[in-house]
């Protein structure tokens, strides 16, 4: 039983870590704010619960595990909300997403303001 839990926990932690790094790289490499929001927001909101579940599986059941569940719920509910609110604020500030028109041979135009 504990071997299965350990294996599961290891898998969760590994996946969570990989997703974290993916999000970080996406944050750096994406060309535009809105694509960065996609990269960072989505991967983080998945990576955080995976890492916390991995942690949960490693602890014994106690008050600490309930607190980990609370942190999980908190992060799951506040992270997407904050990203959503940030995106709305950016739109309000006048930033436009970078769009590429496919029918132009030069590869497109960007309309985002620097």
């Amino acid at each position: 039983m504990t071997a299965i839990l350990e294996l599961l926990s290891g898998v969760c932690l590994l996946l969570g870590g990989v997703l974290c790094i993916t999000g970080g790289v996406g944050l750096l490499r994406m060309p535009d704010f809105f694509s960065r929001v996609h990269a960072a927001g989505v991967t983080e909101t998945l990576a955080a619960p995976l890492l916390l579940i991995g942690l949960l599986l490693q602890m014994e059941l106690s008050l600490d595990s309930v607190k980990v569940v609370m942190i999980l719920i908190l992060v799951l509910s506040t992270n997407p909300t904050a990203t959503h609110a940030l995106t709305r604020a950016t739109l309000h500030g006048g930033q436009q997403p970078l769009v590429f028109d496919d029918d132009e041979s030069t590869g497109g135009e960007g309309t985002s303001k620097p």
């Binding site: 970080g24 944050l27 704010f33 890492l51 607190k67 908190l74 506040t78 940030l86």
Partner: protein, 94 residues
């Protein structure tokens, strides 16, 4: 495996920090700072368990909350005019 996850989180925090310094617009910086904060919560939770700190989950819970409030505050004060500003009146829905 826990150590690997902690290292992954540290790497991501470093990447987010680079974006905070680089980001051409302030919105990029806000996003990167929010990411940094979320990763910090995870770091405290995992690192506290690994290093056997006392009451580390309380601090992680607190910081998750503060990260959220901080992001909302930054957005509110940077982007939106206060209702008592001389220039604009109350905001309508954007």
């Amino acid at each position: 495996m826990l150590i690997a996850a902690i290292v992954a989180i540290l790497v991501t925090m470093f990447l987010a920090l680079i974006r905070t310094f680089l980001g051409p617009t302030e919105y990029d910086r806000m996003l990167a700072a929010n990411s940094f904060g979320t990763k910090t919560v995870l770091l405290i939770a995992l690192g506290g368990y690994a290093l056997s700190w006392n009451s580390y989950l309380d601090v992680a819970l607190l910081y998750a909350l503060l990260n959220f409030v901080g992001t909302i505050a930054v957005m509110r004060f940077f982007e939106y005019r206060s209702v008592t500003d001389e220039r604009d009146g109350p905001e309508s829905t954007p």
